[in-house]
């Protein structure tokens, strides 16, 4: 999942990395095929180098050290609003067929909220979502629209890679060993499987980069 997410970053692109897993995707992309990608972080950091060492939050020491630029939240989100970000990385508790994300409230459960997610979705040229693939999370309409994407969404899950918000939802690829039936069982909206391929396996280099960025398996266990 992390490798598939990392591959969505093209070399030289400006990437907005949200909290948690997306941080790791950026580090892996930098370490493999996209060494010239630049990462923006809503806390105010801009990085040309991947963080050296394990990072839980974007405010951790290894993400601060060797940063290219350390500034304010509104400076960085202002660059996003100005249209400078190619791809925004997000996660969420619920996603729907239109690419909307819910990170605020699911049923009775109150979640932490948007953070920068809603802004990243609304203002990035395109988005990548990284999520666990479970039926309760993949719904026809989210119960609360925290984030509505402006552009096309590539959804990377534990089962496959999908495209949303660009016509009807469709399957790009299924991970090795995952069946169509399994995906349909875990998805609350219709999917077009016509062009589904198999997700290429993570390369040696990708696996190495993941192990380096997350040595204890905190994010990828």
């Amino acid at each position: 999942m992390v490798a598939a997410a990392a591959r969505q970053i093209r070399d030289g692109e400006i990437v907005f990395a949200g909290m948690r897993l997306p941080l790791l995707g950026f580090a892996v992309a930098k370490a493999t095929h996209a060494p010239r990608a630049i990462g923006l972080f809503e806390n105010g950091l801009i990085r040309e180098l991947p963080p050296r060492g394990f990072v839980v939050t974007m405010g951790d020491g290894p993400n601060q050290r060797d940063a290219t630029c350390a500034t304010t939240l509104i400076d960085v989100l202002g660059m996003l609003q100005r249209g400078r970000v190619d791809v925004g990385f997000l996660g969420g508790a619920e996603v729907d067929a239109f690419g909307n994300l819910n990170t605020t409230r699911v049923g009775k459960t109150r979640l932490p909220g948007s953070g920068g997610g809603s802004d990243i979705a609304a203002l990035s040229r395109r988005c990548v979502y990284v999520m666990e693939h479970e039926r309760r999370r993949f719904v026809e309409r989210v119960g609360y629209v925290t984030s509505r994407p402006r552009g096309v969404v590539t959804l990377i899950t534990t089962l496959g890679v999908f495209t949303l918000a660009d016509g009807p939802p469709r399957v790009v690829s299924l991970h090795h060993g995952v069946t169509r039936a399994q995906v349909e069982r875990e998805t609350g909206f219709a999917l077009d499987f016509a062009q589904a391929e198999e997700t290429p396996a993570p390369s040696e280099a990708e696996l190495r980069a993941i192990a380096e960025a997350d040595p204890s398996g905190f994010w990828t266990r």
């Binding site: 909290m19 948690r20 972080f41 809503e42 806390n43 105010g44 950091l45 839980v56 939050t57 974007m58 405010g59 951790d60 020491g61 601060q64 940063a67 350390a70 500034t71 304010t72 939240l73 509104i74 989100l77 202002g78 996003l80 609003q81 909307n100 605020t104 009775k108 459960t109 109150r110 979640l111 932490p112 909220g113 948007s114 953070g115 920068g116 997610g117 809603s118 802004d119 609304a122 203002l123 609360y144 629209v145 925290t146 984030s147 509505r148």
Partner: protein, 276 residues
């Protein structure tokens, strides 16, 4: 710290105590607020890593205006969740996004009644709050959202070092630190080190908070633990995880509070208890 919190933080205040996002969070001041039983506070965002969850659990909070409340590494904040899931909710929540929050905060910092953003369209965040209004572009372009200015009574800010007038060098990611200090009626500045004015003046561009904004300077190394302070403290990930596990139940929270807040007199005792 005790005297500064007594003097500058009043029950009912609008408080900014989470302006560095995951970094430089004034836990020591927050715990002092709990010990002094301040109540009816409105906490403003953008993102609070664990501290706001504690202030909610301790019953200090009436309302939160923020983009994210929880525990960044571990997930949601149990006290916050319980307070919002109660019927009726124990805390009023106004959801923002990071950019719309910063836009409203900066409007207050600059003395204008609102700022504008191109985000928020099509979201329930915009629909479910009177902090936002869709308005026309008076110059004929697309509509935008106006975000109402977010006033702040007291900003509690952690910086690396300052002089006695409160001129402060701050470094690492800044989040909304500068806007919080500029918006606030009062600023409680907490620093790792007091330094001579000359040290600061040697690098005036690094003085990101000028002393004219500051009402009290508290020198308290480790005040931000377990959050990081670039150049002084690394993030203590285990403490965030332990808190998350301990506070799954209301009783667990009560026990945590008794041990780590009410059970220590001040930050020095807290640090000794940590074995430092």
């Amino acid at each position: 710290m005790r005297e500064a919190v007594e003097r500058l933080v009043r029950s009912g205040d609008r408080v900014s105590a989470a302006c560095g996002l995951e970094a430089r969070i004034p836990f020591a001041a927050g715990h002092e607020i709990v010990r002094q039983a301040k109540h009816g506070l409105t906490l403003v965002g953008p993102i609070s890593d664990m501290l706001y969850d504690q202030l909610v659990g301790a019953g200090c909070v009436r309302r939160i205006e923020a983009a994210w409340v929880g525990n960044v590494g571990a997930g949601l904040g149990h006290n916050f969740r319980r307070a919002l899931e109660a019927e009726p909710p124990l805390v009023e929540m106004v959801d923002y996004t990071n950019l719309s929050y910063a836009t409203g905060l900066r409007a207050a910092a600059e003395g204008v009644p609102f700022g504008v953003t191109r985000g928020l369209f099509g979201t329930d965040i915009a629909r479910q709050s009177d902090a936002f209004r869709e308005i026309a572009d008076p110059f004929g372009g697309e509509p935008v959202f106006a975000v109402r200015a977010i006033p702040v009574d007291v900003a509690i800010v952690v910086a690396q070092r300052a002089d006695e007038n409160g001129n402060a060098h701050v470094w690492g990611n800044l989040g909304t630190t500068l806007e919080s200090a500029r918006a606030a009626e009062r600023v409680l500045l907490i620093v790792e080190e007091l330094v001579a004015a000359e040290t600061l003046r040697a690098h005036p561009n690094r003085v990101l908070i000028p002393g004219l904004l500051v009402d009290a300077v508290v020198v308290e190394p480790g005040a931000a633990h377990p959050s990081p302070v670039e150049g002084y403290e690394e993030r203590d990930h285990a403490a965030f995880e332990a808190y998350h596990r301990a506070t799954r139940s209301r009783e667990g929270w009560d026990a945590w509070r008794a041990e780590w807040i009410d059970g220590v007199a001040d930050r020095a005792s807290y640090l000794r208890k940590l074995g430092r």
